[in-house]
Symmetry: C2
Subunit: 242 residues, 2 copies
């Protein structure tokens, strides 16, 4: 049976999603929990990786097991073996042709900035950045919408064979009294892409750059031009659509 799970996690204490030697990762914790529950080695497939410190409210994974368990039993079992900073929200039995990564049609990322006084309560959940001209950022963020080659906003180490042409369907800012919420919905996102787009938006908000820089990076496709990467602690994988 193939199970699809929607999971949330606090990325603060993890070296990201993907298993790496000698690191505490979300993927390893998930596979350990399945092993404790079913006494069998199971490989978890996620919609994609998230970096160190990055949070998830709607990450999606799938895995295959021989036993047929009800979704509710899978949910309760996994949550009883997972640490408190990882949680299974929903479990569903899916067809064998469902794939957490390849079946994903779009993804939604949110980025939060605390624009007020530094607040220790939220230090791991939104960076503190003040004196931003939000109207300049609102004007600039629209340029990300559409189909573009995002190579210039990706990590300079990404695989050269990787398709860097992606579509952003929605990119907007929601303003609150003392925080900003940035929403990006797109066909897919490259490594560091949202954090680099955010880095440039913040430079535009500081009036150190103008929105023309976005167009320049699209044209040159040069990742060195998008040098400012905002911290992972403000980024949330919010939803994966299938």
């Amino acid at each position: 049976m193939r199970y699809k799970c929607i999971i949330s996690y606090d990325g603060t204490n993890y070296m990201g999603f993907q298993i790496q030697p000698n690191c505490d990762t979300v993927e390893e914790r998930l596979e350990q929990a399945i092993k404790k529950m079913l006494d069998t080695d199971v490989k978890v497939v996620a919609s994609g990786r998230t970096d160190r410190l990055v949070h998830a409210l709607g990450q999606v994974i799938h895995f295959d097991i021989d036993k047929k368990l009800t979704p509710n039993n899978i949910k309760r079992g996994l949550n009883s073996f997972l640490p408190k900073d990882i949680h299974v929200n929903e479990v569903e039995i899916v067809d064998e042709d469902f794939h957490a990564r390849f079946s994903a049609k779009s993804k939604e990322y949110h980025y939060f900035i605390n624009t007020g006084e530094y607040n220790p309560i939220i230090r791991n959940y939104m960076p503190n950045i003040t004196n931003l001209d939000v109207s300049l950022m609102e004007d600039a963020i629209k340029l990300f919408i559409g189909t573009h080659d995002f190579k210039g906003f990706a990590s300079s180490q990404i695989d050269k064979r990787k398709d860097t042409i992606k579509t952003i369907y929605e990119a907007k800012i929601i303003k609150y009294d003392d925080k900003l919420e940035f929403i990006f919905i797109g066909s897919g996102f490259l490594k560091y892409q949202v954090r680099k787009m955010m880095g440039l938006l913040v430079e535009i908000g500081f009036k150190k750059e103008t929105k023309d820089k976005i167009i320049k990076i699209f044209e040159t496709k040069d990742p060195k031009l998008s040098h400012k990467i905002l911290g992972g602690e403000g980024l949330y994988l919010y939803k994966v659509n299938y």
Copy 2:
């Protein structure tokens, strides 16, 4: 010179405010930061203690130092030596007759409950309690308002000489989609008082108790009757008024 500071902290990793041997406490961190900044031993006086896990957004402290430094230099200096989960928000030079504890006229505590799905992001900041009948709680919370002997809502270990008659000026619930915010403004609060009042309110919300239990505890003054104590992680010292 006497300095008054308004400070905030994330209580997650501390054994409360007050210095205790072999424990990491907020008070010790503050005194260490002052020592690092001024190379002198200074005793910090707070408006009151907060328990293990309890947070503060508006705790007030005072301390005396010989040097005359501007409030802004004190703020910047302390924040550079404090860990990231403790922050000085405001500093003011005050008269010698100001006392963080004895001059306090009222205190405001907030308690947050996550009433939706368990969310790992906020696990240390609001407990997850579902299926509460909020209208019963709203009806009951009003009974706390006024001047009462709160001995029955205090820790059974409190000093017998302590004045347990306190006045609550305001007690109310603000409802959000997936959380509840409880606000208590009072002349002062006894050890465990807010968390025990919250414990009983939750029992009332679960229909395990009725609001008559509040009156019974006021009458009997028996701390054993208020046996349910909600976790410290949902409690915030919000403001101290002088």
